[in-house]
Symmetry: C2
Subunit: 240 residues, 2 copies
C-alpha cells in the first residue's frame, strides 16, 4: 500500500484543523498510535444544552473507542443511535519560552475523535469490554483474577463510540521566533515535560509468596507512561 | 472564618458529583488549588449540536478562567452573553491494580468548572490577558520582552469564563479491595505516575552573555510540574 493510500479518517468541518493546519494528521496510523499511548482521556457530551468535559479511562479496538462511563453517561441509556461526543487525548511535551510573548507556546500531541456515543447495555458485550479495560493496560491480567460478579457488572458503565472522524495535532518544534527577534538579548528555552512512572508500591496486604508477575516488568520506575502504555497495547492487541 | 463558612461554589444538578460523591469538593480553596497547579486544560463547547473537547493553555484569576482560544472559539464572537462551556483539569496520579477487575482504578485529581464562555474582544482587556498568559507561568517574564504588536494581538484569541459552578474530584486511595478478596493469592499494587520537568534546553541561537534568568530557577530537572506551576502561580498572583 502506497503512503498516499494509507487509511485515513474522512475530513469535514467538524474535524478539519483550522488553526496551524500544518500540524494536522488524519491517517489511522498517527491517530491510533496516539490513542494507544495513553490511558486518560477527556470526553465531551451535551446534556440539555450544557456541555460536560469528563476525564475517564479509555481504550481503542480497531476504529472503536471504549471508555469507563460516569453518571453523566447514564443519559445515553436507551439511545440506540447514540449521542454526539468528542473524545480527546493530549500529551503535554514541553513549555516553550520564546523571545516574544506571542511565540510562547507548548509542544504537545493530541487527538480529537468524533462520533456517536452509546452505552453498552448487553451483558456479554459489557463483560468483554470490562476485561479489555484491565487487559489493555496490564496484558493478560484478568486471566488470573476471580470472575466479575453480576452486581459488579451492573455497577459499571461502559460507553462505546465508532470513530467517525478524527484529527491528530502535533507540535514538536521547541522555540520558534520571528527572524528579527533573534537579535534581541532575551533568554529562550524549551522545558521538556514528561509523564513517568514512579516506584511501584506493592499493596501492604499481599499474601506471603505472592510476587510481582513478570507481565508487569514494563511498569518500572522512571519509564515514560506513553511508552509503557504503547507496549502494553501492542501486547493486548497484537493485530493492532 | 470557620471551616463551614469557607467560600464554596454553589451545587446543583450540573456540578453535583453523583458517582463516588465522597470524593467531591466544592470549596474555593480545593478547586482553585487544583486549577493553579496545571497549565493544560480541556474545554468543551457545543457548535451546532456537536460537542468539542479542545486541549488548551489556561489560567485562573479570582473566580474567572481564561484560556487560549482555538478556531472553534471564534463562534463566540458577538455572543455577549457567552456560550455554555465546561473547563476540566485532570492530574493522573497512579494506576491501581487491585485483586479483582472491578477494583482496578486510578488515583487522580480533577476539576470541572462550568460557566458561559465569552471571547475577549476589547483590545486592552485582551492585551492584559495575553500578559498574564505568559506571566502566570513565568512570573514577570513579559516585562523583559518587546511589546506585542497589533497584528499579534489580532491573531490571538483569548476566551474568558466566570466560574458559575465547579466541582473537584480526588481519588488518592491506592488499592482498595473487597475484604474477602484479600485472602486471594493475587498480586496488587499502586503504580504512581508523575508529570515532571526534564532538563531545560536553552535555545541554540541565544546571544552571547544572555543567561537564564533567576526567575526560572524553579523550572529545574526532575521537579513535579504541578508543584512548579503552583509556585509560579503564587508569585504571579500573590493575593491568591
Amino acid at each position: 500500500m502506497s503512503e498516499l493510500a494509507a487509511p485515513s479518517y474522512p475530513i469535514d468541518d467538524t474535524n478539519r484543523v483550522k488553526r496551524r493546519h500544518q500540524r494536522a494528521h488524519y491517517d489511522h496510523a498517527t491517530v491510533h498510535a496516539l490513542l494507544d499511548s495513553a490511558a486518560l482521556c477527556h470526553v465531551s457530551y451535551v446534556i440539555d444544552g450544557q456541555p460536560y468535559c469528563t476525564p475517564t479511562l479509555y481504550w481503542r479496538e480497531g476504529t472503536t473507542l471504549y471508555w469507563h462511563g460516569s453518571s453523566a453517561s447514564r443519559m445515553l441509556r436507551n439511545l440506540s443511535e447514540g449521542q454526539p461526543a468528542c473524545l480527546t487525548v493530549t500529551h503535554l511535551d514541553s513549555l516553550v519560552l520564546a523571545r516574544s510573548a506571542f511565540h510562547h507556546s507548548a509542544d504537545y500531541r493530541s487527538v480529537m475523535a468524533f462520533g456517536h456515543a452509546r452505552l453498552i447495555e448487553d451483558a456479554a458485550e459489557k463483560a468483554g469490554a470490562l476485561t479489555m479495560m484491565v487487559d489493555r493496560l496490564f496484558p493478560g491480567r484478568t486471566a488470573g483474577l476471580r470472575p466479575t460478579t453480576e452486581q459488579e457488572l451492573k455497577a459499571t458503565s461502559v460507553v462505546t463510540m465508532e470513530i467517525e472522524k478524527a484529527s491528530a495535532k502535533i507540535r514538536a518544534a521547541g522555540v520558534i521566533d520571528d527572524e528579527e527577534d533573534y537579535a534581541l538579548p532575551v533568554y529562550a528555552e524549551r522545558i521538556p515535560v514528561r509523564t513517568v512512572l514512579d516506584v511501584p508500591e506493592p499493596d501492604g496486604r499481599l499474601l506471603p509468596g505472592v510476587a510481582r508477575p513478570a507481565t508487569l516488568s514494563g511498569f518500572s520506575f522512571g519509564r515514560r507512561l506513553d511508552e509503557v502504555l504503547t507496549e502494553a497495547y501492542a501486547a493486548s492487541y497484537p493485530m493492532g
